[in-house]
Symmetry: C2
Subunit: 591 residues, 2 copies
């Protein structure tokens, strides 16, 4: 190998040793007749000094520029008193350069590597090979590799088998739009890229593989939000003969070991919370437990008030009236309350009622609020007691359809937590369990809350007679308000699977057409099984503190699903299309 050490590995114990470094010229300074080069490689930086005594080498050093690739041989020595750089791993030493070889020259890069903040993302993506040189970008991808390695080792150690499932496959039933691949050998037909390996992993359980995992690429042709990519990666897990407690215990252990290994953080045992409780207390099925604020239901106190904004939802079985106490919030200026009112408007809330608790001892007099006049004092006291109001607090109220109140106050809770710096800890994991089987849309149609292979907690008969209230055997792992992963015990009985399909309005013919192979497989001895999938990209984002999914993917797509570096997608020639038995529509974007 050309080098003896990585730059970042140099330290005082190597003093007086001759070493060879290979890397990029990160920075170059001339100072007091001496040339300093900071050499950068994957593991860090090292300062190399060239003095004029070695004339030939000095002259070479004089000609190198930023981002030249060089090989340097020299001797490690402690830095002089006062020149130690505590911000650099190798900051206590420097290298006295004896030999310098330029392995590759470089033009001035399109943007400087150490002052990147005002470079547009488009430019960074176009020159991704330079952007990835930035130490903070490289660090994220290195950590990503460490994360997958830790996860794989845990699963290997727990007897999981890594099995690859197809990328060219059939449309999967996750519901999002599939990426399609025209078949050349079967004209007029298409493969779909998988939205997940869900059915294949279930088939592997039916085959007896018992413990499967795969770090699997998945695909969705959806319009992209900030945290979405057309292709993303899942840590995909499935097991047989384990119940939900076993699976949660095992995968919780995996995440715990991961955090210990890569961050030296002890996550401890994860609390488990029913979906209904999460919605009630936090207005969300992925509550951020770092924030010590809770929603409190107060319908019972407001059903009979004359103020219709409250009494209407309080009396509506699908309505909700809830309070959110913010300790110390009474000093909040009017402007800020207006901003929060706008903010909850994003979630459909028509307003944001509040009570400032100035001095409880004074009764109604001690409260400052546009709404107290509508609430009988007895009810008011119950509400104040129930939320635990103290002097100096502000209490916000939401009253509307339950979904709107939960979403609006749930989001406000998060925002307040960050704005007021209320976070009580760095990491707050939990499991959310006991989800409903189905969601009901405004027209009363049911759809699967997770996916149609999720087992219910009841029998097929009970499910059919009361689908809307049935609970599933699903579980989601949530960390800091982000869903890290979700899974369930799956249906392993054919009659149950058919019952779920029927409830979802999938008739016998469509069942056979789309899921015939699954229904077939369930006939021939399917074991009880279940599993889980973690979103790897999101996990890496959380651990690295990245603000965008594009920061944790080496070569991501833009929001319009394109790669500005390779110019993908691109045009293809007519012959290729003819072979695939397709042609372009004449006018782009015909509706």
């Amino acid at each position: 190998m050309m080098r003896t050490h990585y730059c970042g590995q140099l330290n005082p114990s190597l003093a007086d040793q001759e070493i060879t470094l290979c890397g990029w010229v990160h920075r170059r300074r001339d100072h007091g007749g001496v040339i300093f080069l900071d050499i950068r490689d994957r593991e860090g930086l090292a300062q190399v000094v060239f003095d004029p005594d070695r004339e030939e080498t000095f002259n070479k050093a004089d000609r190198v520029r930023s981002e030249f690739v060089v090989k340097v041989t020299g001797k490690v020595r402690p830095r002089p008193e006062g020149a130690v750089n505590p911000n650099m791993a190798s900051g206590a030493i420097e290298v006295l350069g004896y030999e310098l070889e330029v392995l590759s020259q470089a033009e001035t890069p399109p943007f400087p590597l150490d002052e990147y903040s005002d470079v547009g993302e488009e430019t960074r993506l176009r020159y991704r090979f330079i952007d990835l040189r930035r130490p903070e970008m490289a660090a994220k991808l290195k950590l990503r590799s460490k994360i997958t390695s830790s996860v794989r080792r845990f699963l290997d150690d727990n007897d999981f088998l890594d099995v690859e499932t197809p990328i060219l496959t059939r449309a999967t039933p996750e519901g999002a739009r599939d990426y399609l691949v025209p078949s050349r050998t079967h004209p007029g037909t298409f493969f779909a890229l998988p939205q997940s390996p869900q059915l294949f992993k279930q088939l592997l359980m039916i085959s007896g593989f018992d413990r499967y995992y795969q770090i699997a690429k998945c695909f969705r042709d959806e319009d992209l939000r900030a945290d979405r990519q057309p292709e993303f990666t899942q840590i995909d897990i499935e097991t047989s003969f384990m119940d939900e407690q076993d699976i949660m215990g095992l995968t919780e252990g995996m995440i715990r070991q991961l955090f210990k290994e890569v961050l030296d953080v002890e996550l401890g045992d994860f609390p488990r919370m029913p979906f209904s409780e999460a919605m009630q207390r936090y207005g969300s099925d992925k509550p951020d437990l770092r924030i010590p604020l809770e929603l409190v239901d107060v319908e019972d106190q407001l059903a009979d008030v004359e103020f219709k904004v409250f009494s209407g939802p309080a009396k509506d079985p699908k309505g909700r009236v809830a309070a959110l106490r913010v300790p110390g919030g009474a000093s909040m200026p009017r402007k800020q309350i207006d901003d929060y009112t706008k903010y909850v408007g994003i979630y459909g809330a028509k307003g944001l009622a509040y009570i400032k608790v100035n001095e409880r001892a004074k009764g109604v007099e001690g409260l400052q609020s546009p709404i107290v006049k509508f609430i009988p004092e007895d009810n008011l006291q119950v509400i104040l007691d129930r939320v635990g109001a103290e002097d100096g607090d502000i209490i916000f109220f939401g009253a509307d359809k339950a979904r709107i109140v939960s979403e609006a106050l749930g989001a406000l809770r998060i925002k307040l937590g960050h704005d007021l710096e209320l976070l009580t800890c760095e990491w707050a994991p939990l499991w959310v369990v006991d989800f409903p089987m189905f969601e009901e849309d405004d027209e009363g149609r049911l759809s699967a809350l997770h996916h149609p292979f999720t087992a219910p907690q009841c029998s097929p008969e009970d499910l059919k007679s009361n689908p809307a209230t049935a609970l599933s055997r699903a579980y989601d792992m949530v960390l800091n308000g982000t869903e890290l992963g979700g899974g369930s015990i799956r249906i392993h009985r054919r009659d149950m699977q058919q019952a779920v399909f029927e409830i979802l309005g999938i008739g016998a013919e469509e069942q056979q057409e789309k899921f015939g192979f699954l229904l077939d497989a369930l006939k021939y001895g399917a074991p009880p099984h279940g599993g889980l999938a973690f979103g790897l990209d999101r996990l890496v984002m959380l651990i690295t503190g990245a603000s965008s999914i594009r920061e944790v993917i080496a070569f991501p797509k833009t929001q319009s699903a394109a790669c500005v570096m390779t110019q993908a997608p691109g045009t293809v020639d007519a012959k290729a299309l003819r072979e695939l038995n397709i042609r372009l529509r004449e006018q782009p974007k015909v509706e």
Copy 2:
């Protein structure tokens, strides 16, 4: 967890312990009023005995059938004298069943699991979830998982970073047909699925990642041969600041450790052989060194004979005349020689001349051959000496264009090695090195023997003046006549890359259009780099002894690139096509 042990883990040390198994009823026998169930799980089989003393359990056992999924609790006990089954991991013990729970019933499977040999592959693929239950199929996929795990561990331990590269990308330059994915957001354009991550891994080196690996899915839309699949898996490796010796040493170490770990085989150091020597001695760039037969060139002895079949190719600079001695082959009957003559015909050979060496001491009298009369005795003696002829040997001759002779005698060599059981060892690895940069077709056009990013051993100037004879810095790892992996030092200088493109007839405009981002990247400080890719499927085939690539892939495609289980590829609705801005051609297969 429901079970306490896997079936295959049971052994005499567990005698008298109460254990619980979960698995499938593999076989069921009634014998002497007692019911025997062989329970199967991922790790093997265990025999469970139910006797009528426990009536309720016995009656349940009486009702189970093959492939029912059951949970059995019982006590481990040694088998009676004479009932020990040495072919079964748990064959020294049995379980006396106390409790039996049927977790899932099963219809009679479409084919029996222990007598599969006359089941057609189509049926096996249609019911792949049952086919994979066969212990020999499960064993192959388990070994595949063990192989990837060993490889990953080796690379992790050697500081390689696992980096994912895109699946939705731009057409890659490997030359095979791409799978295309229409873009919805950029009408009229297409992504291509990657034939390899080649350019991305080079860009990662230019970014400074130094050591990259990925177990990567690759795609080729080609008509399938027995050992090809539309999607296949590569162990993809790239490094910076290492030369070919370093890279060969490192990856050879990886394969050596793999064989030690999964097969307990010591492969030893791999010999290295120039391409020209491999072609000369074995007629192949992937010689099977287990076979102790070699081609020997004899043009010099036959250039002036009157027999044109020999003298023509011997005098042609592009011709070749070679001999292949087969020890003990003189007893070969005429019929067999005729069969071999037909066999070399597949490779274009117009005949197969031979000499049987009955008794060398007798001179020409001791030889039996239709061709000796054409060869002067002096030349004949030189040839016999050169090939090391001994009494009882047969010597075959090939004379034609060099490519035909090498391919025909190279293939004959392999066939003879197997037919005559001449293999000298089980595993014979080697490196083939010093490949030509380019291949010349019949019209004298040059194409890259590896790919256009492979570095030559010479300067850009020498390359341009003598491309046809230039050697590359490529290396192939060969095992038992199969190419396991191939790689090279890559071009890291822009002028060299442009020189290669020009030699290949890729003009400046096409260079910019197809490889603009690579040429850009080479401007900004590219380190010397190189790497390698192993075909994982082929590696698993060799290690498991599988005869088809479909045996080592969980859900493979058929020869027509379809999945008979999921019925992929399938039709899609008109709306989906409209969104993708494509339509089907009216007539399938229009040319």
